[in-house]
Symmetry: D2
Amino acid sequence: MKNHLWDLAHIAHVELFTPKLEASTRFFVDVMGMYISAVKGDSVYLRAYDDYEHHTLKLTAHKHAGMKHFAWRAKSPEALQRRVAALQKSGYGMGWNDGDIGHGPAYEYHSPSGHLTEIYFETEKYKSGASDTSALKNTASKFPARGINVRRIDHLNLFAKDVRAFRDFQLENLGGILTETIVDNLEDLNPKAVWFMVNSKSYDLAVTEDYLGMNDRFHHVTYAVNSREEVLIAADICLENGIFIETGPHKHTIQQTFFLYVYEPGGNRIEIANTTARLIVDPDYETVVWTLEERKKGQAWGLATVPSFHTKGTPMPEELD
Amino acid sequence: MKNHLWDLAHIAHVELFTPKLEASTRFFVDVMGMYISAVKGDSVYLRAYDDYEHHTLKLTAHKHAGMKHFAWRAKSPEALQRRVAALQKSGYGMGWNDGDIGHGPAYEYHSPSGHLTEIYFETEKYKSGASDTSALKNTASKFPARGINVRRIDHLNLFAKDVRAFRDFQLENLGGILTETIVDNLEDLNPKAVWFMVNSKSYDLAVTEDYLGMNDRFHHVTYAVNSREEVLIAADICLENGIFIETGPHKHTIQQTFFLYVYEPGGNRIEIANTTARLIVDPDYETVVWTLEERKKGQAWGLATVPSFHTKGTPMPEELD
Amino acid sequence: MKNHLWDLAHIAHVELFTPKLEASTRFFVDVMGMYISAVKGDSVYLRAYDDYEHHTLKLTAHKHAGMKHFAWRAKSPEALQRRVAALQKSGYGMGWNDGDIGHGPAYEYHSPSGHLTEIYFETEKYKSGASDTSALKNTASKFPARGINVRRIDHLNLFAKDVRAFRDFQLENLGGILTETIVDNLEDLNPKAVWFMVNSKSYDLAVTEDYLGMNDRFHHVTYAVNSREEVLIAADICLENGIFIETGPHKHTIQQTFFLYVYEPGGNRIEIANTTARLIVDPDYETVVWTLEERKKGQAWGLATVPSFHTKGTPMPEELD
Amino acid sequence: MKNHLWDLAHIAHVELFTPKLEASTRFFVDVMGMYISAVKGDSVYLRAYDDYEHHTLKLTAHKHAGMKHFAWRAKSPEALQRRVAALQKSGYGMGWNDGDIGHGPAYEYHSPSGHLTEIYFETEKYKSGASDTSALKNTASKFPARGINVRRIDHLNLFAKDVRAFRDFQLENLGGILTETIVDNLEDLNPKAVWFMVNSKSYDLAVTEDYLGMNDRFHHVTYAVNSREEVLIAADICLENGIFIETGPHKHTIQQTFFLYVYEPGGNRIEIANTTARLIVDPDYETVVWTLEERKKGQAWGLATVPSFHTKGTPMPEELD
């Protein structure tokens, strides 16, 4: 029995680079059904209708796709202080920034995979107005009835060169539980992919080995809808609107997520998903270990994983010069 | 900003009294699709296919329906010790028992409403065997493909004479967050119903004012299915099998639960529900306050709440002599 | 064994009166997700995305709500001639009109309940353009991804003073099968409501006894969505947009339709429904007979039928002077 | 405008050969959720809970898998006589048999593809008893709440050496509409696959070119469930019970069927499907024509068609010696 740290509340937001800011914005508003919270400089801030913070997605114009940074919200001011102390001690800490629209000061660090990450507690809860207040007081804003109607940010998936280093860094300094992992085999237990849970949702962050041996690449960010039926409808909406569907809808063996992967116009992979009623409330949940051999069976119902799912990340090396 | 206690992991199990042990057991096995874990004396222990513990329901023969006790699992041995210390100090603590089939020693207390409750950490994770192992290693046992196929215990609802006393006791000694509440009006703020969250699921326990002014009565226990479609199918299954449907399927305004309430043959109210993608990961979520006036609108889509929902609890006074 | 007539193809369109043409149009476009096909004089023509004809709904400005006329499409030119001959002989026939935007000459009649009806064969199949062509060649136009996204017209429900007279007229002159009926009791077999099937969908037209003893009143028109989940989502969309929900979502005992009834801004009742996989392909299907006594059980899962469902029709008598 | 024949009511039943009669029977009862209607000699008769006839599936022990015969029900005695006259004239007619358990005399023919087919009108409507009567009078028998709970037979798919010959034979002698077709290209219009509609369901029979140039082979029979969600659940049930999933769940481009293909223990391909709200009520529906080039896009959301779907039929040539 190991004592787990529970100082992170949830994945908070992701800042994505896009070479097509306008087209990407239209995708998230018209196809995904999200709302624009703010526009500032070369960035557009967006949220899903039931995201409670100011934004969960920040799109920033750039010459190529990818992720600029992502953020965790801490569970309390004290929890934040504890994590900052650990990060400072870890050697990965960078220092405090002044915050951004929608949240207060954040402590920055680069994870072993080179991803810029921040952690904060002070936040601006979204206050809906005359036009977007929901009829239900327990919903952050009005159901948009437009496009896919994603409800909230769900999780983030990154590529890393050294998954083991990321895993150990994360569990030691940020806490949570490793709910599932892929290892090369049961002798070496060398991790190929890891899934971290910080609350009761079975994962908020996944990290997968970068096929190209690169660091700092982005795999996908996921928004949740209320049902698998809506994931199916999302596939039709993408089909009707010329959005490239990479794979799905289908059910992941790992984590059981019902997934649909598409590419937004800027080139980043976006997942629309539903996790049905799965939650992990067991506080000493034992990590589910999958071997590469077991993964050859494909996804839950036998769908072969498409090759691009393993190789495509943003940015692609040819975009970096 | 108040600091919340997060020492409870989740609602663990409920022991229900039934005057018709055999018929109640058949209902939970054949109609609900649950598995029998053990039979001992006048009790039958059951679990849903993805409940990770030995059981989440214990049926015990008795002259009338009702709840004998319910249990919380603590988040760690230390968390358990902290809660026991608080309970002892509160005056509501009773002492340790030796545990039961499936879990270790538990500390018992009577809440202000008179409900016998226990809290423990040591548990027996369910180990499936040759006939009930799931094809997916991240599922506790095989999908039964029988009846309603409930997945896991979701929450518990009790009646209490003094809801305010229960609320204050719970938050002070057990922790968690009050996510939603009904009050008489915005001047008096006298609580009529309260919903407690201890993890990221928007509630594990609800307590409602007992219309008859009684204590120690049971309102319902809820099992979750994976989708709203399965709640609709559950209604057909109950209809086809002569199970009384009290109300639903419909969507609760409060907590947005998609509900179906039925009476098991022993007389206890059982809910089959799906919460779609709703989670509360905001660590300082502000309680949503509803007034009795607002509640007159009925459920989310306007369904009038059936009178029995307010008056029927188990046991009924005429059964007590 | 009776030989049935199969000369009608399907319910074709409905012309509704509305005292609020603009608001009604916005409802059908923004909330229902329909497309405007044409605007002419005081009328707006609309269709759902998979309706294959030019329109299935014509909204016409008028001082009160109600139905101006509805139309059947015949199965062939010969079938049309046969029905016209029968109608002429019946004494209810009126004569040919020149057609309307979207369809050719139609033969008009007043049914015994006084409803103006027309029957035609020549029609204009909808041709989508650059902006609304579906990615799937077997879909009439692009999935709108707006509001409720209704797919096609499903059926029509009228009020009649003398249901028996309507039933006999319909079966004798128009054909089809009476799939279900409500009668007062099994001795008198006096019909209170009747459901007519003309293809394999279990009904295209329903007629219910007018509680006020009036003729020529409209009860509702129904548009189909692809799943029950979308009916549930439709309820949320109506809730969020201030559309009055009369009753539902729930499952009808009769015909098993999963229903949601709302009032459009002009006052007419509109149903959004899904019939799951139910079809009647049995060519000598025996009418299912329900008594008023049986109907007291309410809808399939026990929901009491709301009183307004029996009394409210358009126009209401107070609107007629 | 061509005049269509509408003398067929629907696909009635399929007789499948199986080398594993007991295992196949268990699959259809336990996994598919069907009921056994009768057992006679080496044959087991089964129906889905809402099939209105005595059976829709007859399993017959044989050394290899495949189809022995299938049946159409005619729309009336007169319709049957008309079709028999046409079949006799066509040269493909064989003569009358005495019927089977559940239906009266049937006229037999071999289609150009060599498949034994029969057509009849007299049938035995299923009468449920004390244990399997549905609570809803408009359902043929009780919802089983076991396994996949298929509702009714939906359609049949055969392999044929000469698809054009089958198509012309079918439309001329049996009637209906060709709703969709795959052709090699738009110049030659040589049919590779054809879909026939005989009622308002977009197809009851599909015929695909046999990749091996054989005749008299079976591709699959399909049973319908009420929703796409149930197709997803069916996939889990097959996974949990060791039933091989060939492909799906996914949406067909052609006909938009939401499909899951599995192999029953005897080796025959079985589809579980939901067609959402799609119906074709247009009596002069224009055939949707797809080219092989267009089919290279895969299924609706881009899933590549698995090779076995084109090559595997029952029996396989190696089984015939």
